[in-house]
């Protein structure tokens, strides 16, 4: 499995110490500013993109804009559930065919599946170097991030009531809302399993379960929190920001743990399956200042390049302390599902 060069370097230098926390703040401005689209070479030729379900039509808007800007570029798109497309890419490769030139997935776990199969082409360092150091990978590029958060009901709690240690949450007695069937929640539990170990994670699930109410999805969790059905919940950050955009007086605010799976930063990602400059240059467009600003402003996603403001409503990113974790390892879902079943959560 590919590991991030920066994690290795920092770990070798002892920068991580005994805690994986704090990478976000360690090198906040170590990447060059994101390029403007005007500086990129024009795209010419044909590409086939496999596009995993994304943020409504917003990824589509980006793709349409890229095509419009490059009249000699023709993009064929196959859309589908991210995991299904990842499996299709691997199956096609086993059958000796390659239909996709590029794979853009809403979930980095699916990227990991394809990368682990040895199908992703290395990306040039000048491209991956555009990303914040903690998001540089050899064979794929994170496009935009999302933070795990603990949205809390402001009618009963304040920020100080939210524990800074996710493992301490069951001890607080707070009622929680979760969506165990939801992919983002399962990635969060996977991160906990990788960071804390299987026994601690199983124990955490078992201890929290009596205090938990299940929801079908994470927007439902946030809405349940806002109605005061539970004290706090587990959800990606953008659900709360979007609810507050539609309902400015919503009784919900974002809470964060520090340095653990509770504030995992996951990302959508893209990889090239075909050789040549065209797939790489296409990926460069996604890391431009314009596209990153668009995704931050319209999809509330977190830009992973320098020089682009995060979505409004988030605290300064330097205050957030996500754990250091190789996102592609989140593809290893089976042990997580086993744990969740053992705990009676699934």
């Amino acid at each position: 499995m590919q590991r991030r060069r920066v994690i290795q370097a920092l770990a070798a230098a002892g920068a991580l110490g005994g805690s994986p926390a704090g990478l976000w703040a360690l090198a906040p401005n170590a990447a060059p500013a994101a390029p403007a689209v005007d500086t990129l070479p024009p795209l010419e030729g044909k590409l086939t993109l496999y596009l995993g379900h994304g943020e409504g039509g917003l990824y589509e808007n980006v793709l349409e804009a890229i095509e419009k800007r490059n009249p000699k570029f023709e993009l064929g798109i196959r859309r589908g559930p991210t995991a299904a497309l990842a499996n299709a890419i691997v199956a096609e490769a086993r059958a000796g065919v390659r239909r996709a030139d590029v794979f853009w997935a809403v979930d980095s776990g699916a990227i990991g599946l394809v990368d682990e199969a040895g199908l992703a082409r290395p990306l040039p360092a000048d491209l991956t170097g555009l990303l914040r150091p903690e998001f540089r990978y050899d064979n794929w590029a994170p496009v935009a991030g999302r933070i795990r958060t603990l949205p809390y009901f402001t009618g009963r709690l304040s920020a100080d009531d939210v524990p800074s240690d996710i493992m301490a949450l069951p001890d607080t007695g707070l009622s929680v809302g979760w969506a165990p069937a939801y992919a983002a929640f399962q990635s969060f539990v996977t991160a906990m399993r990788l960071l804390e170990g299987e026994e601690a994670t199983l124990n955490w699930l078992r201890r929290l379960k009596p205090h938990a109410t299940s929801y079908a999805g994470e927007l439902g969790v946030v809405m349940g929190v806002e109605r005061g059905e539970v004290d706090l919940g587990f959800a990606n950050h953008y659900y709360t920001l979007r609810l507050r955009a539609g309902k400015p007086d919503a009784a919900v605010a974002l809470g964060f743990t520090r340095g653990d799976a509770g504030c995992l930063v996951n990302a959508s990602g893209i990889l090239a399956l075909a050789e040549g400059e065209l797939p790489v240059n296409f990926i460069r467009y996604l890391l431009t200042r314009e596209v990153q600003s668009y995704l931050a402003g319209e999809a509330y996603e977190i830009p992973l390049v320098s020089g682009v403001a995060p979505p409004p409503g988030l605290p300064p990113l330097a205050q957030i302390a996500p754990p250091a974790i190789d996102l592609t390892r989140l593809a290893d879902l089976r042990p997580t599902l086993d744990l969740m079943r053992d705990a009676g959560v699934l």
Binding site: E55, G57, N61, L219, A250
Partner: protein, 269 residues
């Protein structure tokens, strides 16, 4: 790519009450869809003959019940007759609401016989079934005309590219919920509700909640409580259909809101 109803076609189908002319399905739940559904025009005579034969056969079953009671009628043959005809998948792939009505009629006749209802009650169910079959034949003929003019895409797997297209898919999936429920496949109907919520509605509700938080709250309750509970409780098909129609009306409003939001959205470059 999923093709939206063009305005002209939408107006026409709406005028005929065929607002859910269906454009895309992977496969019928009862097995693969035959290639004939992509060439309706060539099979219209066959479909017409099948409908006439079906109506005759149902009439024979009801007549046998009238003369000899339950033992003579063999009511299970009602459903067997329906499942054996090609017209079955033609209507399932091109107008799910009427497909549901046919199933509702079939089950109505079968149940009335099985419960040894008075012949007048059985005939009433038979009449509803015949109406649904004739309406379905009309819908397939209409679809054949549009298909011939190239206005309907092939029946195949499709994916949405925009929130509005996603809502179109959700609305069609909800039609399928009623159809499966009318077939008495409650688990399948419930599964469609669950999958549609997770795989479709979840993808757009983030954008929708920025436009109308209350509408999202309503639809959340519909998807996760009202509709699954009606299915689980064995509510009448008409009640389930009403819930679905209410949801589809809310989804229409959602589509308008999302389309308006899209028009006001910033450019990427």
């Amino acid at each position: 790519m999923t093709t939206l109803l063009i305005p002209q076609l939408r107006r026409f189908t709406t005028a005929l009450g065929l607002t859910s002319l269906l454009f895309a399905l992977h496969a019928a739940a009862d097995g693969p869809v035959g290639e004939h559904v992509n060439d309706l025009e060539a099979h219209l005579d066959e479909y017409s003959a099948e409908v006439v034969q079906l109506i005759d056969r149902i009439d024979g079953i009801v007549g046998a019940y009238d003369k000899g009671g339950l033992q003579s009628a063999k009511p299970e043959a009602v459903v067997e007759a329906w499942e054996s005809v090609k017209f079955h998948s033609a209507i399932e792939t091109h107008h799910v609401p009427l497909y549901a009505s046919v199933w509702q009629g079939l089950v109505g006749v079968r149940t009335a016989i099985e419960q040894e209802a008075p012949i007048a009650a059985v005939r009433a169910e038979q009449e509803k079934l015949e109406q649904a079959l004739w309406q379905s034949l009309g819908a397939v003929k209409l679809a054949a005309r549009y298909q011939k003019r190239g206005l309907l895409p092939a029946v195949e797997a499709t994916e949405a590219a925009t929130p509005a297209e996603t809502i179109d898919i959700i609305q069609r999936q909800l039609d399928r919920v009623v159809a499966k429920y009318a077939e008495q496949l409650t688990a399948a109907a419930t599964g469609i509700v669950h999958d549609t919520y997770l795989q479709r509605f979840e993808g757009i509700e983030g954008q929708l909640i920025e436009q109308d938080a209350e509408l999202v709250e309503d639809l959340e309750v519909d998807f996760n409580v009202t509709l699954p509970k009606a299915l689980q409780d064995g509510a009448p098909v008409d009640k389930v259909r009403q819930i679905v129609e209410d949801m589809q009306a809310k989804l229409e409003r959602a589509k308008t809101l999302l389309e308006e939001a899209e028009q006001n959205r910033a450019d990427v470059f």
